[in-house]
């Protein structure tokens, strides 16, 4: 710190202490400047398409609000995390220490989110993660200032699908998933509920991220003699798997169930009939006939020329959730603790889901989860249409949180399977 800066800061400190009695106007003045938000998204690299949708969904909400909340302007500083945790960490430092943002938002890949969460753990900056789904961030490794607004845990969504599969009379199911935590956790959520309900997981395959050729896996799946297959893939892997599943003639022979990203718009947008009829489960379905959902889908499609994906929806809703809290606080988020408390105790209202959303006591949202089916809409585009709803699904399903948290975290070796 050089001398001039030292004088300036000590002068301010002096002013602040001596004017203690009239500090209220001082605070009000500080609170009338813009609210600065650091938004991180992968704008280059393998998940750049999803990253762009993060930015689109996020900006769409603030633009609707006229870029101001409670009389304070909203200033968004975008940074590219390149889908790389090292870069994400560097950008988070830059946003917090250089750009002095009030809070951080975004990231897409779990590893970038985990790296940033590890960083904000030490400095208390609020960090909102609508699509970072790593289970333990709202379970065993909670960080108070890392909040899943409009987000979800990985194992939360596939559980209702497992229940649904049991009701269809499926007894034997094989799973295939990407070999990393997000895959392990989603797969485990499915496998745990399915086996506890009397089903049998016949085999589990784990493919590396970016598997160029799925044919070796599909060859194995075809020989397992199963009633259905549960697949967890996202991005290019999902496209490739769906394509090759159909090429090898398995589609139509063995029913295919998917985790929510598997049939997300980001995947099926460029696809043909290979994706039709696939069943998945999620809290958001762009093909839902709920008027609030359709209002959002229509607005998004008109603005960006494509149906919204989970990434766009989640960041729109996440921005909305935080925006509503700021409004309630009359724009005063200077007290971080109070701000975080206010977020955790708030409910998301008027969201595209068409029903209010609240947090459970561990800071993870509780949703009504749809069982969805990919169908063609009136414009000839494929989208996900709800065929059944499971109300109030929390990350703990029907388990008691205290009991649940005693079990080890999910991994490739521990899938919660009941023998």
């Amino acid at each position: 710190m050089d001398r001039r800066q030292f004088l300036k800061t000590s002068g301010l400190a002096l002013a602040a202490t001596t004017t203690g009695t009239i500090s209220a106007p001082f605070v009000a003045r500080a609170q009338s400047g813009p609210i600065r938000i650091g938004l991180m998204a992968p704008l280059s690299g393998v998940v750049a398409a999803g990253g762009r949708e993060i930015v689109e969904g996020f900006n769409m909400y603030w633009q609707e609000k006229g870029k101001s909340v409670a009389g304070r302007a909203i200033e968004i500083i975008e940074e590219d995390d390149a889908g790389n945790p090292d870069t994400a960490l560097q950008k988070a430092r830059r946003l917090v220490e250089q750009a002095k943002v009030d809070f951080l938002f975004g990231n897409l890949l779990a590893n970038t989110g985990l790296a940033v969460a590890n960083y904000v753990k030490t400095n208390g900056v609020p960090y909102f993660i609508p699509v970072i789904a790593a289970d333990d961030l709202t379970q065993r490794d909670r960080v108070r200032n890392v909040i899943r607004v409009a987000g979800y845990t990985a194992s939360q969504m596939p559980r209702p699908l497992a229940d649904w599969a049991l009701k269809q009379g499926y007894k034997r199911i094989a799973t295939i998933a990407q070999d990393y935590s997000f895959g392990h956790e989603q797969c485990a959520g499915f496998a745990q509920v399915f086996t506890q309900g009397g089903g049998q997981i016949v085999g589990q395959l784990w493919n590396p991220l970016n598997t160029a050729d799925f044919s070796p896996y599909i060859g194995q799946l075809a020989n397992m003699n199963v009633d259905a297959i549960f697949a967890m893939e996202l991005g290019a892997d999902a496209t490739r798997f769906l394509k090759q599943y159909s090429d090898f003639g398995l589609k139509g022979n063995i029913p295919l169930l998917g985790a929510q990203n598997f049939t997300d718009q980001s995947v099926i947008r460029t696809m043909g009939p290979e994706c039709e009829g696939i069943i998945s489960s999620a809290h958001f379905a762009e093909g839902s006939d709920n008027p609030d959902t359709q209002k959002f889908v229509k607005a998004y499609s008109e603005k960006y020329g494509k149906l919204p994906s989970l990434y766009g929806f989640s960041h729109y809703s996440g921005a909305m959730w935080v925006g509503q809290v700021i409004e309630k606080l009359n724009g005063d988020i200077s007290n971080r603790d109070a701000f975080i408390d206010a977020v955790l105790n708030s409910q998301l209202a008027n969201s595209p889901l068409g029903r209010p959303v609240r947090f459970d006591e561990f800071g993870n949202p509780v949703y009504d989860v749809y069982i969805r089916k990919v169908q063609k809409n009136a414009d000839g585009k494929y989208w996900n249409v709800p065929i059944e709803t499971y109300p109030n699904v929390s990350q703990f399903w029907t388990y008691k949180p205290e009991e649940y948290l005693k079990s080890p975290p999910f991994s490739r070796d521990y899938q919660g399977i009941k023998k």
Partner: protein, 320 residues
């Protein structure tokens, strides 16, 4: 050869002193973010120097040093946060692991030179990346491993910055000493004419093996510092682009200039920071930088002053 030997023997006090002064004075006026950038520059300068020792003094261009660097990062984080061991022992183990990995690379790579050396080290680096990505139970797979923080006495960012500065300076001196040693001179002899040196009775393979292994120590130290700096590791720390950026830093700074690595590292990291203010097209900028450097300034920013470059880099035409 003696004439080339003597003027270089003086300790490079001006270079080391200017690095010490420039970086040492930084905290007087820089913000905490700028200091963290400077910290990164120092760490990557050490990585770039380790690459430069091979490229500039042994005539072998490696694309595997990013993996060696990252292996050390993995071991340090693993030892501290998964095994729950002492951070000081973790640092030692990290450097040790990097050195061992480098010796394995060296065993396989000493017999080839030029483009083949480049391809082989690239492929070996890919194996390390593949192992880190796939061996989920140990490495945490794609998600990597989160650290538990630095040891108390270097926890403060400023203290850690000075620790990095001192460590990097000490190793800069050691590297300088290494390339000026009789061993380093033999390396340069091999670089300039492998056949002459082997007919003089030198075992070129064993020299290359030792040189490669020793550069592993330097890359390992840089990787260990990076572990403490980021407190996090994932496969992106060992991926190819890490080696590529390290090599580009060495080249921009000037192959065979050693301390040019600081210039190269600073140029690239600062440019990346600057560019990201305007556009997310950093990969394209990096690509154009590579192309431009190769066409217009293959000798790097400081390289023009270096005669090693002319005698080494250009002679480095490949006889596979």
């Amino acid at each position: 050869m003696a004439s080339a030997y003597s003027p270089q023997r003086r300790i490079p006090i001006p270079a080391l002193a200017s690095i010490l002064i420039i970086f040492g004075a930084l905290p007087l006026f820089a913000s905490s973010y700028q200091i963290s950038v400077a910290n990164e520059i120092l760490i990557f300068a050490l990585l770039a120097m380790s690459i430069d020792v091979l490229a500039g003094y042994a005539g072998r261009t490696s694309l595997g040093h990013g993996a060696i660097f990252g292996a050390s990062t993995y071991i340090v984080i693993y030892w501290i946060s998964v095994a729950g061991g002492s951070p000081w022992i973790a640092l030692l183990l990290g450097v040790l692991a990097a050195t061992m990995l480098a010796s394995v690379f060296a065993l396989l790579a000493v017999r080839v030179s030029g483009v083949y050396f480049l391809l082989l080290t690239l492929a070996l680096g890919m194996i390390v990346w593949g192992v880190c990505l796939r061996w989920t139970s140990v490495t945490g797979g794609e998600n990597g491993i989160r650290g538990v923080g630095r040891p108390e006495i270097i926890a403060d960012p400023l203290v850690f910055f000075y620790t990095t500065l001192v460590t990097v300076l000490i190793f800069s001196f050691i590297i300088w000493r290494f390339v000026q040693s009789p061993f380093g001179l033999t390396l340069r002899g091999i670089r300039d004419s492998e056949s002459r040196m082997s007919s003089l009775g030198y075992s070129t393979a064993s020299h290359m093996f030792i040189a490669f292994t020793i550069t592993g120590i330097f890359a390992g130290v840089a990787g260990a510092l990076y572990a403490l700096f980021n407190n996090f590791v994932s496969p992106s720390t060992v991926q190819l682009s890490q080696s590529v950026e390290g090599l580009l830093m060495a080249i921009v700074g000037g192959i065979g200039t050693l301390f040019g690595a600081f210039v190269g590292s600073a140029a690239i990291i600062l440019l990346e920071n600057f560019v990201s203010d305007f556009t997310p097209r950093w990969p394209m900028v990096l690509g154009f930088m590579f192309i431009g450097t190769m066409i217009f300034a293959p000798e790097g920013i400081l390289g023009a002053a270096s005669k090693f470059f002319r005698s080494g880099w250009k002679k480095n035409r490949i006889k596979p």
